[in-house]
Symmetry: C2
Subunit: 283 residues, 2 copies
């Protein structure tokens, strides 16, 4: 996500000065060679080391906008650091897949300097790593931008929200305003539940049969290849919605099975027709 985002920022904001921060020094070198970032740092280190490298203040701390592209469970750590060292009014947004947990945390935390507006771009590639990065990756998808629950003193969405929304609109033309709560329900249904289903499916069949898998099985289980260290924190952060959705899914499967057991052809056919109609509408 970070690589494509830097590339997109470079393309859409040609005057912006872009700093890349990543542990992956190869990725940083690649992004620099491509001209996606002007400057790079390999440590978002312990304490303030990132911001005072060789006793020289890290110029990244004077940024106008920071975009967190790390796994969701690292956000509290990094937001705390950012708030400590960045200038008052610094905008911070992210690309995380779950919003409720971190925004609840932010609400309690009350930042001194940074202004955090959550976002979640949904882009069309399952490829990962800097080599798969593309400046136009985000143009095909859409981005959720999370409205503050209460807004400013007049109840209007806050200025930071509009600024961050404007940024995302440049990167990805389709921006969807949503609450953190609604966002998490949506992604639980269309992203996290399907991931759990694919994981359970590929684990449920006998390993000796995997060699007979065809295109249908490949499609149905593709997302199960996703990186466990990315997905575990996502599942945990969206636990409440996931549990609800998993229960509904299990119940639907049980219906299907009991119709099969009882030979209730008409009920089965109804399910198949409902699913087929829904799926045809999507494509």
């Amino acid at each position: 996500m970070g690589g494509s985002l830097a590339a997109a920022c470079r393309k859409k904001f040609p005057k912006a000065y872009i700093t890349g921060i990543s542990r992956d020094t190869q990725a940083l070198r690649f992004a620099k060679k491509k001209g996606w970032i002007h400057e790079s740092y390999s440590k978002f280190g312990k304490g303030d080391r990132l911001f005072f490298r060789n006793t020289r203040p890290n110029p990244a701390r004077f940024s106008n906008l920071v975009i967190l592209c790390t796994p969701v469970e690292t956000f509290p750590k990094y937001l705390t650091l950012l708030d400590k060292f960045f200038r008052p009014g610094t905008l911070v947004t992210d690309v995380g897949s779950v919003k409720g947990e971190i925004l609840n945390w932010c609400a309690k935390r009350r930042f001194k300097n940074i202004q955090f507006v959550g976002a979640h771009p949904v882009a069309g590639s399952h490829l990962r790593g800097i080599k798969a990065a593309r400046p136009d990756l985000y143009e095909q998808g859409f981005t959720f931008v999370v409205k503050a629950e209460k807004g400013d003193r007049l109840g209007n969405p806050s200025v930071p929200f509009f600024q961050v929304k404007k940024f995302w609109e440049k990167i990805c033309p389709r921006v969807i305003e949503t609450s953190a709560d609604e966002h998490d329900k949506i992604v639980s249904a269309v992203s996290h539940l399907p991931h759990a289903a694919a994981v359970a499916l590929i684990l449920s069949i006998s390993a000796k049969y995997l060699k007979y898998a065809g295109a249908g099985f490949f499609d149905t289980t593709r997302i199960a290849a996703g990186h466990p260290s990315i997905w575990l924190p996502i599942f945990l952060a969206n636990r409440k919605n996931m549990i609800k959705d998993l229960k509904i899914f299990e119940r639907t499967l049980t219906y299907f099975r009991s119709f099969l057991e009882k030979g209730q052809k008409r009920s089965l056919l109804k399910m198949l027709e409902g699913a087929s109609t829904r799926r045809h509408k999507l494509s």
Copy 2:
């Protein structure tokens, strides 16, 4: 399936005389125009009407090999008809997705004329209809050919089996010999269960969230678009294996959910890692 198969036969057996029989007269016209079939009939009608059209015996009845490409639940009807009117020793094979039920039926039925050897080509396209037909469709996939349970009097697979196997080897280079029982277990795991999972998944989420579906959801639910009238008979014919596999799948999902409920990170991570490793090995 029928269209691509006719095209493949034409390519691989240039000297063969090919007759197409289908209710879909447009498909027949298309196949004739393409040169995939020499002759066509639109009725596999009631009684013997197909075989005596306008009081003239239908020349299809002198075929050396008949390939049934109709839904599995129609096989008893058509095999009975074929046995009634075709010459003794006529080879019959099929492309049906379930084998046990029909072969049990055949074993009880004892044909007078035809010799049925079940087959199931697994090809790589989810497209349907004559327009999607391609002569090379079967070259990428593989074909199950079902060995007779007991073979001939010496216990060897019968001559018809070898002849039908030879036919399929020309069409599709990878032929897998299997028993009807094993075949049905395999396809239940890698094809029918994933279909049921995709159906249940797309029915489990709120319709209002479907518009937010991304690439992952599209992949996971793609096969749910399959034609209900094709899939219902498949599920019913492979009911026993399906019920078993559905139970295992439901249990795996319940494990996943209970790990999430109890916050058992290590167990969840193990599941995600197992699934990811399995899926990476496939592609």
